[in-house]
Subunit: 192 residues, 2 copies
Amino acid sequence: MEKIESVLSFIVEIEKLKGVLRKTRPCALPRYENSAEHSWHVCLCALMLKDFADDTIDIDRVIRMLLIHDLGEIDAGDTIIYASETAENKAKEEAGVKRLLGLLPDGQGDEYLVLWQEFELGETPDAIYARAIDRIPPLLHNLHGDGHSWRDNNVPKEKVFGLNSRIEKGSKDIWRVLKGKLEEAVDAGLLN
Amino acid sequence: MEKIESVLSFIVEIEKLKGVLRKTRPCALPRYENSAEHSWHVCLCALMLKDFADDTIDIDRVIRMLLIHDLGEIDAGDTIIYASETAENKAKEEAGVKRLLGLLPDGQGDEYLVLWQEFELGETPDAIYARAIDRIPPLLHNLHGDGHSWRDNNVPKEKVFGLNSRIEKGSKDIWRVLKGKLEEAVDAGLLN
Ligand SMILES: [Ca+2]
């Protein structure tokens, strides 16, 4: 029974992700998104777009990766991606992920730490696809939300196109569609 | 490209689940939980507790089931489980799930409708386990949150023990642990 108690303490502890706020507002909601609901949303994005991945991927591994990909923010907090993914912040996140997964019994967390590191490195087909998908919801939030996060954080269009071309590494077709929408946003003055 | 556009419209539409509020507050948060963040949380519960399932389960199917299990609430709203799972409400939820999955291209949603229905029926090992897991977070919220939802909704202990014995159908060991915690809650006066 002690093992179950350990998993339950993990389950309670990861709830804190529901209190980590991100920098965009979900379409049609007046408040900022939290990283827990974001994690759910990207899992369904990945699942429903899986046939557009350019490489062969294991969608079940991708979903597990996305379920845990933001756990590091519980201890480190969310930082806007355009601001920079610093080594210091990444180290803080990794320490946090280790602490949380360490709550699980019998080294059960080890495989998830490896999966989290694979996502962070972004070199395997699964990680490349997962990281591509992770970029989609915040773009949609801005596109459907008057570019609020681009403007509030003074993000120039060069940065938006540059960083989000990460989507292209996972799926040329998805990037083509989203790039078209970004260009329309520039024309409409949402993005400068 | 039209197919990708259709999936994107699905992705935008399901965001509304982030605005559907449930009846419990996450551990350590002062606000009610929404069904999107709940969906993320139950997926990780299911994953980390999978070895305690009594039956042979396909955890990847279970996770897909749990990712979509609450989509019906977007059109039907969340109703407290103790209040009753009426046929009328279930029909409303199913119509809502059909509407949402119908946004996906080429009948891509059909397999997820079948999965949603399997969850609702709760007869296969995957559905039995998924439904058992779905009960765990609200119990933890009450146990760690002074029984707030039991009290606010006047839920007597007989109903709590009765309905949550659904957990036992998925895992006798998990139920034994949680039943012990519920008995402690009765002794402590959180549950009457
Ligand atoms: Ca539920």
